[in-house]
Symmetry: D2
Subunit: 350 residues, 4 copies
């Protein structure tokens, strides 16, 4: 399993303890419980802003419901062509919103402000034949493992404001991005114009917990109805909220993410060091969160698998490539072993 | 909380242990894990029939996805006017299926075969102005706490067959119904023509786990896509499946349901005994599962609340009524205390 | 064909002439033409109110698009259980709005203010499990051929206002209702709280033309997009608008409706006169527009068909019944012949 | 107006006569009339194949309903990035089908078989995260005025067959394509694997009439319900069918299209002759139907407008461009005048 995915791992012990703790006595269902109330308050502290928080149990639900809140059925939503909402949600954003998703390209999974500006300028019209540009969705960290810097997001926000479209952030790996950036959370969310954030926690160490964080209360009015209509209102909600509470308490989310990121950095470093001896070897994207996309000789990839490491092959323009994902509980010794194996294989290659 | 709802209680210890157990090492995500494989096999044993099993985390998701599998967008689905799919899912079945839900009335939350036959005969036509009858959804146990007997279901199945419509069972409290009936599960499912069952487990003692059980494999072909498109594919699926596994292992589901049912019976007995002294007091529906709907004098209701008992008021044709729900962990002593309080209040009333 | 339906007849000669006239030279497509501009002005005169007018070509499109404008996907729309939107549009209102349609009963196809008040009071809640009451749709004239009086509509409007829901009028036979009422159009539309009117013209004598008339401009903002998204924006729009223009010019619409209504009155009178000699014969609903629902002995019905008259059988609580529909061009001589045949059959019956 | 669009012109006199003719006496509504029956037979002759024919009144309705018939809600539909279904229907295909539209690029508005093969190979997977490739939509003639040759379509059909996806043809300008190709209609429809054809007639000279032509009867089973549910079942259907009947009788459709194509050819010839003297002037696409996309100096464009000619500006990679559309009734003298004006402006330019 080692580097397959951050959802192939289990649950952090702190989260498990919180679940045990939450299982004491009865409480009102559907979110009218203390855990749910507390996470709204705690999130407001983290973001230094009034927020409305809606726990759900999948990132796809968080994204699709968020986008349904931001775009009408005759509207359009811009996202990177490789974004999860675009390629990996089997049309959930379309089902929930009715809107049209418009793919845009960009390096390392990022949308550039100029790309968005060009697309929005092109697509803004009074002609009823065309859907109305309504929202942009950015992924933080991106599907390529890169992280938007505050200035990049602010440039996008400026474009959004000018074209009067809303901004959503898919933060399935928001913790990894924040651990990398080391800035206040507000700088890459509401200060950067984000209206709604899918705050991911499952990949970060929870069992099944994501939070939709809404920075503009007016947008939250009917979110509860949309969530219910999507079948996403968990009855024993405290057990979702308890996960989230433990995850964001005392900076656990950042601590776990820092570990995952550090393991990714170590892998990157080891691979880079060995690459002069591996023809064509290179990192396809900057390693800023907990994912690496690595072009490697086919023989090296085969060697790694023979040595017992697991990971996905990844499409590459040329040659062969793999994806490595680290997690909150990735074993440092295993990482060293991987690095050593790469080095050995590189030695053999030359 | 005491009698508020079976989702206001916590999680059975066996389920909690199973979650702990499942948190060992990595596994493939999205249901490609051993837990998920095992529950499909175990369900096949329980139902003595080949099944396809799809875990989800809410009953609404189970119902809405099941119905989407059974009815086209230009079709209609018949259900009791008080059914959960009709009144408590904020339109989820319509969102997922596109179909039209048609309410029918019937005593104790049940659909009668003749009522269905009449409606289906009336609504079957070649006229494209009308939606095409496509499915029936029955709730077992019903929203009124009653249980369909095998013969009642078989009569409905016969109507369904004759009119060529599919049959869905909302089994949010399937365990309570089975504990009451004490017949093989096949008799009230596929032998009674059920095509798809929403097998509830959350109310029965799980944290958040329901299973869509499909008896006709042809219907399962694209269920996985529909589930994903609804945002209902949990990434760390083993933790949903582990709950289900523990729940159905060694008859735990029936044991827990038997307790809840017994507590409901004891309440019913106590209330009935006291009712000659409580003007207008009566059980509004037969008590066959874990819910009671009780007409009581307003003063008695107030007295119960003063004594610390919690429950919902319930609409009644005349007078005042309440709903009492017992659960897998309802304290027998509390039940006795409730019965005693009713008796005392009855004494005072006369 | 004689009394089959008002859409089994052809097109009024004035409408045909208008189509010929409109076929001169080129014009901008999609409604940016003079005909479309003129009907908006003319409608404003008829209703003595600012209006936005959107021509479409079916009543179902007019209704479904109107309702989509008034109700969100998590909302509900109340209508009579026999209303066209409820039973004869194959789910179009649901497809276009996403909302849930809630059937209510009432005499002669009418919704009573008290019925609505009761339903809205029952259904208004903060509970996200339930869809939010959003709109009421009334049909003028009703499917039973009855006409809402201004006071009845005002009572409904008062209920709507109190419960903060919007009001739609399905006016497929609006002309027949207006011809019967003989009051200013404003009294039964915006003065009676109607937000959006489906102004029917096809049944009144056009070829295929209906107008969505919006009294609150704020509701019109994205109607054009919804119409396009439904495939209901006709490219050579002038030919739809030209029909509407001729239809509403110089009171043609009312003149044609008055004829249809008069023919219906004559039929009602003749049948009533003969009914003492026809066991069980009676009008099932007041005859106020151009439809009659008549309970008649089976032998009389058969006799009428033998005499060459065409009409639909209609469901009746007891005995046998038929529907008779008159149109703008119903031949008075044929009506007399029908009346005479009924009289003859009545003579024979006694 | 002259070259604005083929829907900015009126209706061919033969169509108008047919409408007059059809307005005689009553007939059954909703397509149970002789006109509708006759066009199905006539279409079967034209295509030399059994067909089911469903008249509608807009091309968007024809396309969206056709695609809904070919793709499930969790499916995807491939079309050219400039296709009408992709950019000009405000999301109607998505509303009606629920499916995801996937844009592909290609020269002159055409999809190449290899492009489709690559995309389908890339997108075919067992992973439920991705929508299932379900259909391809080709436009004949394309939005760029080019025409697929039989061999090109057969190559696409071969790809479709191999990947088990269905084929739709948007034939808004099918007549112009057929007039250009001069082959039997079967060669570019069912023989080339087309399952459903949107047979356009409005642009060709009708008032508002399109026909969905289904070559596989199994696909037609519920088309009637889908059409009704979309609000696209015209009650006085004979008036739509009468247009179609006149249009396809005695080859009128091809005769009208040949005129439009000839006018386009004459324009292309004139512009090409003048282009050596107009810096950068060129035809951006082959002129094969009734549309020209012409790059011209800004001064030339301004000069043409000053001379009274009307047309749309068109986006061009470099420089300035316009679109010219001819129609069934484009005046040959006007075309000559346009050509002369271009020549004069070219003279002045040098």
């Amino acid at each position: 399993m080692t580097f397959i995915s951050d959802n192939a791992v289990g649950v952090a012990p702190e989260i498990m303890s919180a679940l045990m703790e939450a299982n004491r006595g009865p409480t009102m269902p559907y979110g009218a419980d203390d855990w749910t109330r507390r996470i709204e308050r705690k999130m407001a502290e983290i973001f230094e802003h009034e927020v409305r928080v809606f726990p759900v149990i999948t990132g796809t639900a968080a994204n699709a419901l968020s986008l349904a809140t931001l775009a009408p059925p005759y509207g359009s939503i811009y996202a990177h062509e490789e974004a999860h909402v675009m390629t990996d949600e089997c049309g959930a954003p379309e089902l929930f919103s009715g809107a049209k998703l418009r793919p845009l390209s960009g390096a390392h999974g990022k949308l550039a402000a100029e790309t968005l500006d060009r697309a929005l300028t092109r697509d803004t019209t009074d002609d009823v034949h065309q859907v109305i540009p309504a929202a942009i969705s950015v992924t933080q960290a991106t599907e390529a493992g890169a992280v938007y810097k505050p200035a990049e997001l602010q440039a996008i926000a400026e474009v959004a404001r000018r074209h009067k479209v809303r901004l959503h952030m898919d933060g399935a790996r928001f913790a990894n991005a924040m651990a990398f950036l080391n800035v206040p959370a507000r700088q890459v969310t509401w200060e950067a114009g984000i209206d709604v954030l899918s705050f991911g926690a499952t990949k970060g160490g929870c069992m099944a917990a994501e939070a939709v964080v809404i920075f503009d209360p007016a947008l939250a009015t009917h979110f509860g109805h949309r969530r219910m209509r999507g079948g996403h209102l968990v009855s024993k909600m405290r057990f979702v909220s308890a996960q989230l509470e433990a995850y964001i308490a005392d900076g656990l989310w950042l601590k776990l993410a820092r570990h995952a990121n550090a393991m990714a950095q170590r892998l990157a470093q080891g691979i880079t060091a060995a690459s002069p001896h591996l023809p064509g070897a290179k990192l396809l994207h900057p390693v800023e969160a907990n994912e690496l996309f690595v072009q490697l000789p086919a023989a090296t990839i085969a060697g790694l698998r023979e040595a017992g490491f697991a990971f996905y092959d990844w499409p590459a323009e040329e040659g062969t490539a793999i994806r490595l994902v680290t997690a909150f509980n990735t074993d440092a010794a295993l990482v060293e072993q991987f690095v050593k194996t790469v080095k050995d294989l590189a030695g053999r290659a030359t």
